[in-house]
């Protein structure tokens, strides 16, 4: 048995120093001599949503301490970006948060457009909003399914995937790819909407609210679901802000911070929608917030479809993109939170430095704060509630 040595002394923040080295050692003594058991959750584990490795220090089943080991998927996107031209970097952004590729693209092309001073045609902006909101729905549906399956409700996963599949089909017809979409180009879109786009999206939006009701029937009032989520991982607003959380995790704690309203980008100021906020900042509230966000996204898409202007979808952008010397930080509200790009340009065709502000990476560090004192089963629920995608955490 791998047993934690007793001599690990938590430092000022309570983190176990040198967990990496020590947890593989086999300490002399039996299970019953040691006060705590160190257990590896991941990197191959059904509910770590990828190759996340969580090292848990357990007392019985209560989590005493926790450390996340990440980087198994590290590709060095920021380094690659320094060697690629601006247009070539976009596909890499698809592969960060690969369940919300369209949102990532919007962040990157938005950043470059801001640096270049390009004005994107209104039709393109509207189409971008439609696609990103569809992507938000898709991402939230995937989150819902995986979160539910973590808590044991398997069926919701399949239902959610069915609806997500419809979105992916719309993407495939529009963009040409389902997952890693490469949806946007600097200056607009490569493709205009296909003829039946409007009808397909509307058909889907007609089905979706009923389906969300179905998920909520299965989960919302279910006593097992409630007892698994209510009061689990409570995060007060001030702490959530201090931990730099963004997205539904922050809004579940009642902080009204949504970049679509706070610092509007693209065509968002033209739409009427609300930001759902939680009250108690527990797992259940974060679940409710996301479900409400899906409904708000439906509203936005309907408005965008109604007001979709005619015109070109691509601005006049030089083939060789050379932004002026300077730097920019541009961020959007991705499904996981605030995804941002910090671009430093030295006037050449390649960015001097590109920094991705990864929402899931930064949200993930709250896992330790959330989990300590809860049970192993709650850690699973909490990983789910943070909604991480390891492609983005590791970059």
């Amino acid at each position: 048995m791998n047993v934690a040595p007793n001599n690990q002394i938590p430092n000022s923040q309570g983190l176990v120093k040198g967990m990496h080295e020590q947890e593989v050692e086999i300490a002399p003594g039996t299970l019953f001599d040691a006060e705590e058991m160190v257990i590896n959750m991941g990197p191959q584990h059904p509910s770590t949503h990828g190759v996340l490795r969580v090292i848990l220090k357990l007392d019985g089943e209560t989590v005493r301490d926790l450390d996340c080991d990440i980087g198994y998927l590290h590709r060095g996107v920021e380094k690659i970006a320094e060697h690629d031209t601006y247009a070539m970097i976009t596909p890499y952004w698809d592969r960060l948060d690969y369940v919300a590729a369209v949102s990532n693209d919007l962040c990157y092309v938005g950043g470059v457009e801001k640096l270049l001073g390009v004005e994107v045609p209104r039709r393109a902006e509207y189409l971008r909003v439609i696609l990103t909101e569809l992507q938000r729905i898709a991402s939230h549906l995937l989150w819902l399914g995986t979160h539910a399956i973590d808590i044991g409700a398997v069926t919701v996963l399949l239902y959610a995937f069915r609806e997500r599949e419809e979105i992916l089909k719309i993407f495939e017809d529009f963009i040409g790819a389902r997952l890693t979409a490469h949806a946007f180009r600097i200056g607009g879109l490569w493709w205009d909407a296909y003829p039946e786009f409007d009808k397909r999206v509307r058909d889907f939006l007609k089905i979706l609210p009923g389906r969300i009701d179905e998920y909520e029937t299965l989960l919302n009032a279910n006593r097992i679901w409630l007892s698994r989520t209510v009061g689990i991982g409570i995060l007060p607003a001030d702490e959530a802000i201090n931990l730099s959380l963004t997205g539904p995790v922050l809004r579940g704690s009642g902080v009204n911070y949504d970049l679509r309203k706070a610092q509007p980008y693209s065509a968002y100021p033209e739409f009427d929608f609300e930001i759902p906020l939680g009250e108690n900042g527990d797992t259940y509230d974060r679940y409710l917030v996301r479900m409400a966000e899906i409904r708000q996204s439906i509203r936005i898409i309907e408005q965008a479809l109604d007001g979709l202007p005619e015109g070109p979808v691509m601005a006049k952008v030089p083939k060789v993109i050379k932004p002026p010397v300077g730097e920019v930080y541009f961020s959007i509200e991705a499904p996981k939170g605030e995804i941002g790009v910090y671009l430093v340009s030295d006037g050449t065709t390649k960015p001097y430095r590109m920094r991705i502000r990864p929402p899931a990476f930064i949200n993930l560090q709250s896992l330790r704060r959330l989990s300590i004192g809860h049970l192993v089963a709650d850690v699973v629920a909490l990983i789910g509630t943070i909604d991480i995608v390891l492609g983005e955490v590791d970059r």
Binding site: S47, A153, V154, T155, L219, V230, I234, P236, A377, V380
Partner: protein, 472 residues
């Protein structure tokens, strides 16, 4: 003593069925061949051993039971394989999928393919596992599940392997040995996930065993026998299935049975999202299949007990119209199987609908809800029973009458017991449970919510004080 008793009972049953010569006319249809095998075979064996008719120990207690055992094992294990298929199909249909479709028409040969695959798979034993225990554990698990099949009254007359007079006790005793297999599997695997799963399962099964034991006592008060067929006969004599007398008992039994068989929403020992696969994480191939077999046999067994105790066993209104004994026996098996299947569908339906409880909540449910409910049910049932006794025996209303040598409720008595079961027992037990769990942390979500709001308000107050201390 016991063996003698049931032996003579069996002989009398056999003799009577052999004297009944109807089946001989139907020898050439399938039914006939089967009945011939089951009834004449012991007779042949007797003649072959050339022993006097009254003293056929070998035939009576070894050979004939062996045939029965093999038959039941064959049928039950086939059913188990097809239960897996059923589970996959039911889950698929619930989840907007198709399920297995490729092996055979509608995937009907999938269980065979799965079995073959599992047999051919590499049998992996972890390097640091306790090898002997690792190998024995699944056997213990599956044997304890299969042994119980011996006393289950599959149908009328001859369809029970052993009709012993302590059948129910035997079931409870043997099925609780199954937990030993899980614990040993978890321990010997030398894996933390397995160990956690084993610890969970041992605690869970031990706790739910209590609830289960308490829940059946109410029904036993009416049946007044522990013999499985006796219970069914008692329900026939009383004229009503005990689920109507014992709604709470049935509910508690079903919940406990879910917990006992480690099915969702109580599948904590093998909660795949937390413990990968719990106690059988390190198992592969056919050893793993044995655990699977044990689980599904456990489902059959618990359902069979529920059917026997609460749902009238193999009885069904109108079944007595069948006069042919052989047909009656087979129809009764069919009825019993159908009832089991309905319960198993319930198991599957629950599993694919609800989320999973957390470990401590599961224990709370067992200890704070199921056991008090079972106890209260016993007390209340006792009170109703005593009140309904014949006036000559000190009862208040005399809703029961002596029929032969057993007390049977009259028509008013049936109405009285059903009414008390539903209209009085349920509210009283609910009040009892509510008062017990009023301050329960995990179940009183309202209180929990209020506490959070209070804590949050405190935090915000603290936060609104002039900042500065938070800066380093």
């Amino acid at each position: 003593m016991m063996i003698d008793e049931c032996g003579t009972e069996r002989q009398s049953v056999l003799r009577s069925s052999i004297i009944n010569s109807q089946f001989i006319n139907h020898q050439f249809n399938m039914l006939g061949i089967l009945t011939t095998l089951m009834f004449v075979a012991p007779e042949w064996v007797r003649r072959w051993t050339k022993e006097p008719r009254g003293n056929a120990f070998w035939a009576e207690f070894v050979l004939w039971p062996l045939i029965q055992i093999l038959l039941v094992l064959f049928i039950v294990l086939t059913i188990v394989a097809y239960l897996v298929y059923l589970e996959r199909k039911v889950s698929a249909f619930i989840q907007a999928r198709l399920g297995p479709m490729r092996v055979g028409p509608w995937g009907l040969l999938q269980p065979a393919a799965d079995g073959l695959k599992l047999l051919l798979k590499e049998d992996i034993i972890p390097l640091k596992a306790d090898k002997a225990v690792f190998q024995i554990a699944p056997i213990i698990s599956v044997v304890s599940a299969l042994v119980v099949l011996a006393v289950i009254p599959w149908g009328a007359a001859w369809a029970t392997i052993a009709n012993i007079n302590i059948g129910l006790l035997f079931v409870l005793a043997v099925s609780s040995v199954g937990v030993l297999g899980l614990v040993l599997a978890g321990w010997s695997s030398n894996s933390k996930y397995s160990l956690l799963g084993a610890l969970r399962s041992s605690a869970q099964m031990v706790s739910y065993e209590i609830g289960m034991g308490l829940s059946i006592i109410g029904a036993l008060m009416f049946a007044r026998t522990l013999s499985m067929s006796g219970i069914i006969d008692a329900q026939q004599a009383d004229g009503v299935w005990y689920v109507f007398f014992q709604p709470i008992g049935f509910l508690v039994y079903m919940v406990s049975a879910l917990g006992e068989t480690n099915r969702a929403p109580f599948d904590l020992p093998e909660a795949e999202s937390e413990l990968v696969a719990g106690y059988h994480t390190e198992y592969s191939g056919f050893r793993w299949a044995l655990f699977f077999m044990a689980e599904y046999t456990g489902m059959i067994v618990t359902s069979a007990i529920a059917v026997t105790l609460f749902l009238g066993g193999w009885q069904f209104p109108g079944l007595n119209l069948i006069t042919n004994k052989t047909v009656f026996a087979f129809v009764s098996i069919g009825v019993f199987a159908a009832k089991i299947l309905v319960l198993i569908y319930l198991y599957m339906w629950f599993r694919w609908t609800w989320p999973r409880y957390r470990y401590d909540q599961l224990m709370d449910l067992g200890w704070k809800w199921m056991i008090p409910a079972g106890l209260a049910n016993i007390v209340l049932t006792g009170i109703w029973y005593v009140l309904a006794l014949p006036k000559s025996q000190g009862g208040l209303w005399g809703f029961m009458a002596l029929k032969g040598d057993r007390l049977v409720p009259t028509k008013w008595g049936i109405a009285y017991f059903v009414a008390t079961g539903f209209a009085v027992t349920i509210p009283i037990i609910w009040i009892v449970l509510a008062s017990i769990n009023r301050r329960s942390r995990d179940f009183n979500l309202h209180a929990q919510r209020q506490l959070q709001i209070k804590l949050r308000a405190e935090r915000l107050q603290r936060h609104s004080e002039p900042a500065g201390e938070s800066a380093s």
